[in-house]
């Protein structure tokens, strides 16, 4: 399996993602440019990553412009054919804007950007990206101004009914409580997937937690789960 990481103008976590996958996880990575369209080198077994940052400056609405880029048209096609796609932070916002994931990411409840280590927990044994990490709190950093996940009641009901919730914010002991929610996300939702479980979106940055030198490798577990359960 190999990874493709897309760079938009304004992406700033693209190289962190590439370094993490290549150096810390030993994966093959192909760098992709927003103006290109070709994804013919990828099969359904592979995974396209939409990294964090401020694509096109995010001056309109986060991810609202990026979804129209040539590369995103190919990514949408790739996802619809069953190929795996992960969006992290701005990538999650883009996937929601592109209609590949339900709901939206709103400005943080306190109106401020937030960057810190948080804990999240998965109870989802059905998705490849979470299968091996369920039931335990993972320390992963967040860094966003618009990460408050929101969906209407009907959508939420569907998300839980179809087991599409990947991660929820929790305290260091794994309790899903309000005080552990960094942005006011509805029901502490930090990450979700689509119904088919091949498109994943999450606000926290696992690629920032894969290096021994930086003192946190919890993010490796998430990527490893995805790789192992291919």
């Amino acid at each position: 399996m190999k990874f493709g990481v897309v760079t938009f103008p304004g992406s700033n976590c693209d190289h962190d993602m590439i370094d993490s996958l290549r150096k810390d996880l030993g994966q093959e990575v192909i760098e992709l440019w927003h103006k290109d369209k070709d994804l013919s080198m990828f099969s359904k077994e592979d995974c396209i990553v939409i990294p964090g940052g401020f694509s096109y400056g995010d001056y309109l609405r986060c991810g609202a412009i990026a979804r129209f880029s040539p590369m995103m048209q190919s990514v949408i096609e790739f996802a619809n054919k069953g190929g795996r796609v992960i969006g992290v932070c701005n990538g999650f916002q883009i996937l929601c804007e592109a209609g590949l994931l339900p709901g939206a990411l709103l400005r943080n409840a306190n109106q401020q950007f937030v960057c810190k280590n948080i804990f999240l927990k998965s109870e989802n044994t059905a998705a490849s990206i979470t299968k091996d990490v369920t039931g335990r709190p993972l320390m992963i950093p967040v860094a966003h101004g618009e990460g408050r996940y929101y969906a209407d009641d009907a959508t939420l009901e569907q998300l839980f009914a179809n087991n599409q919730v990947l991660f929820r914010y929790c305290d260091e002991f794994g309790n899903i409580v309000d005080t552990a929610n960094p942005n006011g996300a509805i029901r502490n939702i930090a990450g979700i997937c689509n119904k088919e479980r091949n498109v994943f979106g999450m606000m926290p940055h696992p690629e920032r937690a894969t290096s021994n030198v930086l003192g946190n490798t919890d993010g490796q577990l998430i990527f490893q789960s995805l790789i192992n359960n291919n």
């Binding site: 103008p9 304004g10 700033n12 976590c13 190289h15 962190d16 370094d19 993490s20 103006k35 964090g52 940052g53 401020f54 096109y56 400056g57 995010d58 001056y59 401020q112 950007f113 937030v114 960057c115 810190k116 280590n117 950093p141 860094a143 101004g145 940055h205 690629e207 920032r208 290096s211 030198v213 930086l214 003192g215 946190n216």
Partner: protein, 751 residues
């Protein structure tokens, strides 16, 4: 094409009055006439007014800046030679770093003022070919209870975050202090640190007659016109009228500019590159031409503009952000244009290099300005002044201070509980969680805090240790000693992080230089800094001077902010500040003293404004730092944390809070309790060791201690233990409770 500048029409005629309105003196006007051999027209006079402003010319400071040590084995360029300092860090890599102020814009429009300060300093780094990998800042605000100050804090922090987070460089460290003197004049000093392979840097130069000159990046608008002159005047009620002097930032544009510029450098197509900051096109064309000893012909009508019919002087003075001037080897234009096109950036040829060392600016074929490049720049024609200085009158009040008139504390715990909530001491998390501190995956301090921030250099085993420091109350109390302490504390922070201090950049924030008492502070602070830089072998690589931080209420505290760079050859040399395990022994390295001078305790809790700087001796400091380094090399230090604001107790508490572990400590009856626990006497470090390393520790300390007055001392004061804090056997409560008070104190004012 016309060859002579017209000075006959009504608008272009200038007089001494015009010069004075533009902030120049009568003498300077005469000097310009002497240079040109004629009266300058309005456009030319405007150019001189910005280039000879303090901000660009350092005319009131350069004489003293030259006294600072500016050479060292590791320096690859001398101070002032390029946009920022270049320091060899080994393994074929160099570090480019610089600190700069954006005080005046931030006072008027805090969000954009602070944002463009961040943008500007990063441009200084990548214009040399280095990729910025870390940002720091040093902030000064007024009283936190003041509504206007709260507005400024929110705007400035939001602005720094907005720019840095989007641009994608982590903010890894900084400092924030709150003192009444900064109410009208907040200070915003931003530092950027970049890394480049040796030999891949670009110079801010221009040569080779016929080589094309391009303007790159954003279009030019009327924003920020005369910003440099604005930064060279006091802030008064009328300053809001200067709003157009504040620039507007676009971090997305700058991110594209960064990537495009770094992609172009390896093509070898560039002769030189310079960012456009203060004085925009004027400054970049003048400095590059003067450095390369050539001239330029520029056609202003080719410059992409945001509005129609901009006048020549408006384009020449515009400080629109995210622009660069580049000079390209003739014949290599296509390679350059292709890369800027890839990043969807403007790249337009606006002129060419000439052998004649004049700058000629045309607008629609009309010669608007014709001046020698050299005459505009620092070291060239710009004036240099010796200013008068006298000892400030308030020194008498400082000399009158007598510690014996202040009774020792009877309720140390009560004092400590108030101390921990002071804005200068309490957690700054309300500020720093708004900054992306982890983008770039190089900030090694996120999960392992140290006195300085540790940033890895990818592709090597090395790490940088970076810090900004200045306790300006010490500088106010004694400019020379305070200047020494600012440098010493920065070096101590780096040593306590396992690094070797290698060089500094400075941001000199002072009041009005025409006030002899302010100028005295400036002169003596520089003397102190110079002495300390020589002692620690940390030359000055550059920086900036910000005068006129003064309102009708008076000047700010003299604030020479030090940005220091340290190197760890291997990140495994790193020291961290958190306690590691129960049972570890706690020592103070350095000498305790009966000294509460200029401490937070004396100033904020007792309410005494005038007292001397805390005890400090350069030689003693050096011995202390050498001892810490020696102990670290032996691999026996479990934690190290220097004693600074709030004294020994706060130092212990910070190491405890970072780990959740408590401590049992006994005070020393030879000293006043307030001085022992809360005094800020310098040159002290709290370290912990494992009990089994005690013998080794004692033997190393024995080898570094001698009988001299400046020798280091060591005192075992207690042990890491449990989750409680115990002082002299008295239970002071849990670390968790202290941490809660420490964490929420600042944000309770800002929610």
């Amino acid at each position: 094409m016309q060859t002579n500048v017209e000075t006959t029409d009504k608008f272009s005629q200038t007089t001494v009055e015009t010069a004075e309105q533009l902030g120049l003196t009568a003498d300077e006007f005469e000097r310009i006439i002497g240079i040109l051999g004629r009266t300058p027209n309005f456009t030319e006079l405007s150019m001189y007014s910005v280039m000879w402003s303090e901000h660009c010319s350092y005319k009131n400071s350069i004489v003293w800046l030259k006294t600072l040590p500016r050479e060292g084995d590791r320096l690859l360029v001398k101070a002032g030679e390029e946009n920022a300092g270049l320091v060899d860090i080994g393994d074929g890599y160099a570090c480019v770093f610089k600190i700069e102020s954006h005080n005046h814009p931030s006072a008027i429009e805090p969000f954009q003022g602070a944002a463009t300060g961040v943008g500007g300093i990063h441009r200084d780094i990548f214009t040399m070919g280095a990729r910025p990998i870390a940002a720091l800042n040093s902030l000064r605000f007024g009283n936190i209870n003041d509504k206007k100050t709260q507005h400024l804090i929110k705007g400035i922090v939001h602005g720094i975050g907005h720019y840095g987070n989007c641009f994608g460089v982590p903010t890894v460290g900084g400092e924030a202090y709150f003192e009444d003197c900064y109410g009208t004049n907040p200070l915003v000093n931003a530092m950027s640190v970049g890394v480049v392979k040796v030999g891949q840097t670009v110079s801010a130069t221009s040569y080779g007659a016929g080589n094309p000159v391009f303007i790159v990046g954003s279009a030019t608008g009327k924003d920020g016109i005369g910003g440099a002159s604005f930064a060279s005047a006091n802030i008064t009620e009328d300053s809001v009228e200067d709003l157009p002097s504040v620039q507007v930032g676009d971090p997305f544009q700058e991110k594209k500019l960064l990537e495009a510029c770094l992609e172009i450098i390896p093509t070898g197509a560039l002769v030189g590159m310079q960012d456009m900051g203060a004085a925009g096109i004027t400054c970049s064309t003048a400095e590059m031409s003067a450095k390369g000893e050539h001239g330029m012909i520029i056609h202003l009508d080719k410059v992409p503009t945001r509005q129609e019919n901009m006048k020549a002087w408006e384009m020449l003075l515009s400080e629109s952000q995210e622009r660069m001037l580049i000079v390209v080897h003739k014949g290599k234009e296509a390679e350059v244009l292709k890369i800027f096109d890839k990043w969807d950036l403007h790249c337009v040829q606006i002129g060419e290099v000439t052998k004649e060392k004049q700058l000629k600016f045309y607008l629609n074929g009309h010669l608007e300005a014709d001046v020698p490049a050299e005459s505009l720049v620092l070291g060239g024609g710009a004036p240099q002044y010796h200013r008068a200085y006298t000892e400030p009158a308030y020194f008498e009040k400082i000399k009158a201070f007598d510690i014996h008139k202040i009774p020792d504390t009877l309720h140390a715990r009560f004092a400590a509980e108030r101390l921990v909530k002071l804005p200068n001491i309490a957690s700054k998390r309300w500020i720093y969680t708004q900054y992306d501190s982890m983008v770039g995956t190089a900030n090694a301090s996120t999960n392992a805090p140290s006195d300085a921030s540790i940033v890895t250099v990818k592709g090597t085993k090395k790490a940088l240790a970076v810090t900004t420091d200045c306790n300006s109350r010490y500088v106010f109390a004694d400019p020379q000693v305070g200047g020494q302490i600012a440098v010493a504390e920065a070096a101590r922070n780096i040593v306590c992080s396992g690094g070797e201090p290698v060089a500094i950049t400075n941001c000199l924030n002072f009041g009005n230089p025409y006030d002899p008492e302010v100028y005295y502070q400036f002169v003596y602070a520089l003397k102190g800094m110079g002495e300390a830089c020589r002692k620690f072998n940390t030359p000055v690589t550059g920086g900036n001077v910000s005068f006129y931080n003064q309102s009708p209420d008076g000047p700010v505290y003299p604030t020479p902010t030090i940005g220091m760079l340290g190197v760890l050859d291997n990140i495994s040399d790193r020291l961290t500040l958190n306690f590691k395990a129960a049972g570890h022994l706690v020592y103070v390295l350095g000498r305790s003293r009966n000294d509460i001078s200029s401490s937070e305790y004396l100033h904020k809790l007792i309410g005494i404004e005038y007292s001397p700087a805390p005890h400090f001796n350069l030689e003693e400091e050096l011995h202390l730092q050498q001892a810490v380094t020696k102990l670290n090399k032996a691999g026996i230090l479990q934690s190290a944390h220097d004693v600074s604001e709030g004294g020994l107790f706060i130092t212990l508490l910070e190491s405890a809070m970072a780990s959740g572990l408590g401590f049992e400590v006994n005070t020393n009856a030879n000293f006043r309790k307030d001085a022992y626990l809360f005094g800020e006497s310098q040159s002290r470090v709290v370290v912990t060791i494992r009990p089994e390393d005690k013998e080794k520790f004692d033997s190393i300390m024995h080898s570094v201690i001698d009988a001299t007055e400046v020798s280091v001392r060591v005192e075992k004061i207690g042990v890491v233990k449990g989750e409680q804090i115990s002082i002299d056997g008295e239970d002071w409560g849990t670390v968790l409770d202290w941490k809660h008070q420490y964490d929420i104190a600042l944000e309770s004012h800002l929610a």
